[in-house]
Symmetry: C2
Subunit: 370 residues, 2 copies
């Protein structure tokens, strides 16, 4: 079989991780704070890192809780606020693990369509006017996984207004925000939600991660929100694992606060920009019938093939795998539908492999139809 080319996993390739910088950060962590790094911490997280995160978001420290990766943050939050049978809104399509986590907790999940500028506010408003009373609405506002779209400022404000009117919590799940490589950043709903003169959000809880800016292996994510909610989740985290790894968190702290970090992050963004650009070009050339949004950041590109043409992403994925190319089926991100779609992650594919990968993928699309 030809060389394997994976468009499947949302992870950075090792060549864009600053391993030397992380090694130096580890040495500084043990030298600068030996007792803090090696001792038991608490569930709030490593104190200097928590402070750095609070400063970044302009909130008091009691608004922040650091977790063992941001999926653990999701799990704590869901355990805290989502009861069996509770209505929850997510985007359609959305991150498969989020769907799984919600369904495992017995949530009544309502998927609302995703457009180029984010969740379909009119569809959501219709559901709310029709009587739906969600506990939580989960939204990935930047470079959505898998859809790739970014929630517009207008829609951010509209969503906040709906949350206020109907009394639900917006879970702003934002792991990709800091790997924007083109275009302009938008304000977080976390910030937009705080009343005049306050930094405390009313209806937003925010999650982010260092997986995309530092590396996944550190498993460091965090939540920002109302301090009462954070305190409840802190108790839950204490009773689950005492604390996330102090060693990992201290390494992240030393790395992110070092002089090397801005250049390391720029290197990640440059590589992602090149990969996304090459992928878009290759798709236009080899698979012109596909439609997609050219990403401004993040890891993913969502490809739709024309509807009603008999495309079946399961067959396509199989044919692609036979050609050494891995993709993720659109149906994995939806409760129904998605047969004509698939997700391509460009984060782990070197630019020089992309054209070849898409060439084989186009063959697979045609073979799957035949």
């Amino acid at each position: 079989m030809a060389d394997s080319i994976s468009f499947s996993r949302g992870a950075p390739s090792a060549d864009i991780v600053d391993v030397e910088g992380l090694k130096q950060a580890a040495v500084r962590a043990f030298e600068n704070d030996p007792a803090g790094v090696t001792g038991y911490g608490t569930a709030i997280g490593y104190v200097p890192l928590r402070r750095l995160i609070a400063d970044k978001h302009g909130v008091p420290e009691d608004h922040v809780l650091v977790t063992n990766g941001s999926m653990q943050a999701d799990a704590f939050l869901f355990d805290e606020v989502v009861g069996k049978g509770d209505a929850v809104v997510t985007e359609r399509p959305t991150y498969d693990r989020t769907l799984l986590g919600l369904r495992e907790r017995g949530a009544d999940v309502h998927l609302v369509g995703l457009q180029e500028d984010g969740i379909d506010i009119d569809e959501l408003r219709g559901l709310l006017e029709g009587g739906l009373r969600p506990t939580l609405a989960h939204v990935i506002p930047n470079f959505q996984n898998p859809g790739g779209s970014t929630l517009s400022l207008e829609k951010r404000r509209a969503l906040l207004a709906l949350a206020e009117q109907y009394g639900f919590l917006i879970f702003e799940d934002d792991p990709y925000v800091d790997v924007r490589f083109t275009g302009e950043s938008l304000p977080r709903m976390l910030e937009l939600d705080a009343p005049e003169g306050s930094t405390t959000p009313k209806n937003v809880v925010y999650a982010c991660s260092f997986s995309k800016t530092v590396c996944p292996g550190v498993r460091v994510g965090y939540l920002v929100g109302n301090p009462e909610l954070i305190a409840k989740i802190q108790r839950r985290a204490t009773n689950t694992y005492i604390s996330p790894s102090q060693v990992s968190q201290a390494i992240v702290y030393e790395f992110v606060s070092s002089d090397r970090f801005p250049a390391a992050l720029q290197n990640v963004k440059d590589a992602l920009a090149e990969r996304a650009g090459t992928l878009g070009t290759a798709l236009r050339e080899h698979l012109p019938e596909a439609t997609f949004v050219q990403p401004e950041g993040g890891y993913f590109l969502w490809v739709s093939l024309p509807e009603g043409k008999g495309h079946d992403c399961a067959k396509i994925a199989k044919e692609a795998a036979d050609r050494g190319v891995q993709i993720v089926k659109g149906t994995d991100f939806l409760i129904e539908g998605g047969e004509n779609a698939f997700r391509l992650a460009y984060s782990a594919v070197k630019a020089e492999q992309i054209d070849e990968g898409v060439r084989r993928l186009a063959e697979a699309v045609h073979a799957a139809k035949g």
Copy 2:
């Protein structure tokens, strides 16, 4: 107030952690396996560390799952096997966080007395003969927290026989096994439970941790058990946090497999032996009415004062705190009783502080009665 002397927290003092060795291990981790350390791992744990643990216990790798500290291992196991209303047996007294974790899951907890040689098998047999059908029996076999006692070989075999006869799982929770500083090690129930010619336990699942042998800040613990149970918990762990910190696990792997580790562990054991010895001597001198088991390992010494003499550990703890001495009340480890008892952790108190700490504690005991 006089200098603070804490007998409260089960943690090593920073001076007995080999920070230099850990720093060197971190450098090797990033140099030897940059992609493995920085990338996403899987919920089974960092592969070389999992292999090292499997080798240590003489089991295939699929019997092992590495977790974010061993309390996380407990949480996954409880979520997997303990349903609401299920009967669970624990020792009386036992680790307060275990009791909390079981009660939060709605378990029907039955506490069985702890003797100098471990759980009271006759009392447990009586409960079983009386119709109790526990899902799980939680036992801390070595240097029990808080009781300090070690389960004898005879009782290990008796407990295994009861598990086989009545069909319950023994949760062998063994964080202190490798910090034995005197006396002879006993075989694990994990090993005793495997049928002739097999390494797979029938009714035992085993948890351990590197918190006591490396340091708590790494948050690395693990489970060993039947591969079907381990696979179920792996799915749960994947859906909770993808994986524990790869960085932390790789540092533990490099440290534990290095030439420095045996001496570092001996240093920990020597310090604990000195602290435990000094504490026993000081108690005999300053608080002769107290009874306790002189520990052969671990972190804790459980002190009982004569019953029926009006001792109240809450008052004693308060009087001790007024004198700058922290202890944990006996009642924290029990559902009822324990007023005449308290737990002293000697792991974090330097030998030269111990005599002074016990002198003040004796004053507190007398003041609390007056």
